[in-house]
């Protein structure tokens, strides 16, 4: 049923947009690091005392005296050859750092994205069905409070309750301390994942639940639901037959559009839980002026958010039967 003539144009437009996005994003990030007041050498050394000679070597390593345009062009040039460069703080190729950190974060983001999406949708449907009741108001209040809750604050609260006081979960990190990488079990990883994922899920619920609730109320007061009622449909069956069908597509679209917030939330949550993911790496790279790593992460995260938006667009343009019709009548 796909409208094949539309696909090449769609892909072309999207690729062009992605390239321009990446260009602008990397340039702006580069400028920000370049003009940040942090002296990378001082940040690297901390309180350590070193000789002038040694310091000069370090300055050369960090590229302090290289002109910015040359630095940027060097980086961009090797990027075009597929080389992201070497991370200055970890001293390994940027791609390796990103691969390792992004995998850890992906588990965190994917689980909280799914949980918040499903839970938010169900809560939204339930609230919308019982509009005006105590139950609805409780869900609404819950959502308003969550929207106003800072991510790091909730993370701290959960950490205090479940890790410090109850001791159910580890205090931080994504793997146990003092265990070699080969000996980390799947269960260990899950155990470290639960609290950060829970934080992100709880917060992510609010937006999708409120949206689903509004949308369901709108659908339930539509002409076609009125007609369905006039034909004897009622109760949960009516909501399942007509409500869910009409709410699901926009809700899923919205959930894909929330990739950027998901990424932002991950950075904060990882910071609180010292979860060794892409968020922590971003903060470290930013604070220590690790330009290749920071730009690498920026590019990857831009692609990540772009993919979310792209999926939402695809749902909108190719899956919703109504849009297809409108296009073909133009």
């Amino acid at each position: 049923m796909l409208d094949n003539a539309k696909i090449p144009g769609f892909i072309g437009k999207k690729i062009l947009r992605l390239i321009s996005l990446l260009l602008v994003v990397s340039f702006i990030s580069f400028m920000l690091v370049q003009y940040s007041p942090i002296d990378p050498v001082r940040a690297y050394l901390g309180e350590m005392a070193v000789s002038a000679e040694h310091k000069e070597k370090l300055e050369e390593y960090w590229g302090v005296n290289t002109p910015p345009q040359e630095k940027f062009l060097n980086w961009a040039g090797s990027l075009l050859k597929g080389d992201f460069g070497v991370s200055l703080i970890y001293r390994v190729p940027v791609t390796d750092v990103i691969k390792e950190r992004f995998t850890a974060s992906l588990a965190l983001m994917a689980s909280s994205w799914l949980i918040s999406g499903i839970l938010g949708f169900v809560l939204g449907i339930a609230a919308g069905m019982h509009k005006g009741t105590l139950f609805d108001r409780a869900i609404k209040t819950y959502c308003y409070i969550l929207t106003a809750t800072p991510t790091f604050w909730l993370a701290l609260i959960l950490l205090m309750i479940f890790s410090v006081q109850l001791g159910w979960f580890p205090i931080g990190l994504s793997v146990p301390i003092g265990v070699t990488a080969e000996n980390v079990t799947f269960f260990d990883r899950i155990e470290h994942l639960i609290l950060p994922a829970l934080t992100l899920s709880i917060l992510g619920v609010a937006q999708i639940a409120m949206f689903t609730r509004e949308k369901l109320i709108e659908v339930m007061s539509s002409d076609y639901v009125l007609f369905a009622k006039a034909r004897g449909e009622k109760g949960l069956d009516l909501v399942l037959r007509h409500g869910i069908r009409n709410v699901a597509l926009p809700a899923i679209t919205l959930q894909f559009l929330s990739f950027s917030e998901l990424f932002g939330g991950t950075v904060l949550v990882e910071q609180v839980f010292s979860y060794q993911g892409i968020g922590l790496a971003t903060v470290a790279a930013g604070l220590k002026s690790d330009v290749p790593l920071l730009l690498g992460i920026v590019l990857i995260s831009a692609v990540f958010v772009f993919v979310g938006n792209l999926i939402a667009d695809i749902i909108y343009e190719f899956i919703d039967p109504r849009i297809k019709q409108q296009e073909s009548t133009i």
């Binding site: 002409d223 076609y224 109504r322 019709q325």
Partner: protein, 325 residues
């Protein structure tokens, strides 16, 4: 079962009322400024009767509350609506619970436009509606038969509502009512925006239903369309029915019509005198003590401004007017 209805209907055509509405009033509770509640009356003291095997047209201008009458009978009014009066179906009083049980089975609505179909559901699923498990095959067969009868091609089944043309949409909407084998069909503005051919075709579907013994209530503002197929015309004005006339009364200068408003309506048609009368319908929040048509009436006298005129049977029709005998 269908046969039985048919026999019944033939025997009693035009004599037995399937739906009786008596003294129906409908108002909406609204919050005015602050917490003060006001009641907005949209239908008052309305009485009509739909007989088996007949088409009753409820004719009135837009915004006079005609659709709400349909919604009141089906029990699909919004929650702030307040309903008074009596609705009887087949001799049994219609409570909200009864309405919920009967709608879709005994009473069917033919809605006015394609927006009453779920935009994301295929046509066949909507026409068949929600059915009990195990009955899908049977209903599918019935739906195919109906589509064939209404000249809807098999691929319409798989279409979405926005893909239907105007005429197709009309036939699909009518087929939803036929599917249900209901005995009372309420058609809410089924004809606007249709070309001559589609209009006549649509009207013939309702005639068919009446001939099969159904009571059809045709709600419309198109008096010409109503006159083509109806048996009786109820003239709806500002939330109430002023007159129920037989179709044959609408002829010449309308001298057989009982109410001045009905006559004015008839004479306003282009093929008649094309004359409009002055004024407009009273607004819903206006309080009118006497006859609701008082302001615009040419025959008014002092009595008319005091109290609503009672229904009188005149010449085989009923009318709410003091000045007829």
């Amino acid at each position: 079962m269908e046969n039985k209805t048919e026999i019944n209907a033939k025997g009693k055509k035009g004599t037995e009322a399937l739906l009786k509405v008596e003294d129906l009033s409908l108002s909406f509770i609204q919050y005015a400024s602050g917490l003060r509640q006001t009641e907005l009356k949209v239908i008052c003291n309305l009485s009509i009767q739909a007989n088996r095997g007949e088409i009753l047209a409820v004719v009135g201008s837009s915004g006079s509350g005609k659709s709400l009458l349909a919604h009141a009978i089906l029990g699909i009014l919004p929650s702030n609506a307040k309903l008074d009066g009596k609705i009887e179906y087949d001799g049994q009083e219609l409570t909200q619970k009864n309405k919920e049980d009967l709608r879709g089975k005994e009473i069917a609505l033919v809605p006015q436009s394609v927006t009453y179909l779920d935009p994301l559901m295929k046509i066949s699923n909507q026409v068949i509606g929600a059915v009990e498990e195990g009955k899908e095959g049977l209903m599918k067969k019935l739906q195919r038969e109906i589509f064939q009868k209404y000249d809807l091609k098999p691929d319409v089944e798989r279409m979405f509502p926005h893909e239907l043309s105007g005429g197709m949409a009309r036939r699909v909407l009518v087929s939803t009512a036929v599917m249900s084998s209901a005995k009372l069909i309420i058609a809410d503005e089924p004809t606007p925006g249709l070309d001559e051919k589609t209009l006549n075709e649509t009207l013939s579907y309702f005639k068919d239903m009446a001939n099969k013994g159904c009571a059809v209530m045709l709600i419309t503002h198109d008096i010409e369309a109503a006159l083509k197929i109806s048996d009786k015309i109820a003239v709806f004005y500002a939330g109430t029915v002023l007159e129920v006339a037989n179709v044959k009364d609408f002829k010449n200068d309308g001298e057989n019509l009982r109410h001045p408003y009905t006559r004015a309506l008839w004479n306003a048609l282009p093929q008649n005198k094309f004359q409009a009368i002055k004024g407009h319908q009273p607004m819903q929040d206006e309080v009118v003590d006497g006859c609701i048509f008082y302001e615009r009436c040419s025959k008014k006298n002092e009595l008319c401004s005091k109290g609503i005129p009672q229904f009188k049977k005149v010449n085989g029709g009923v009318v709410r007017c003091n000045n007829v005998s």
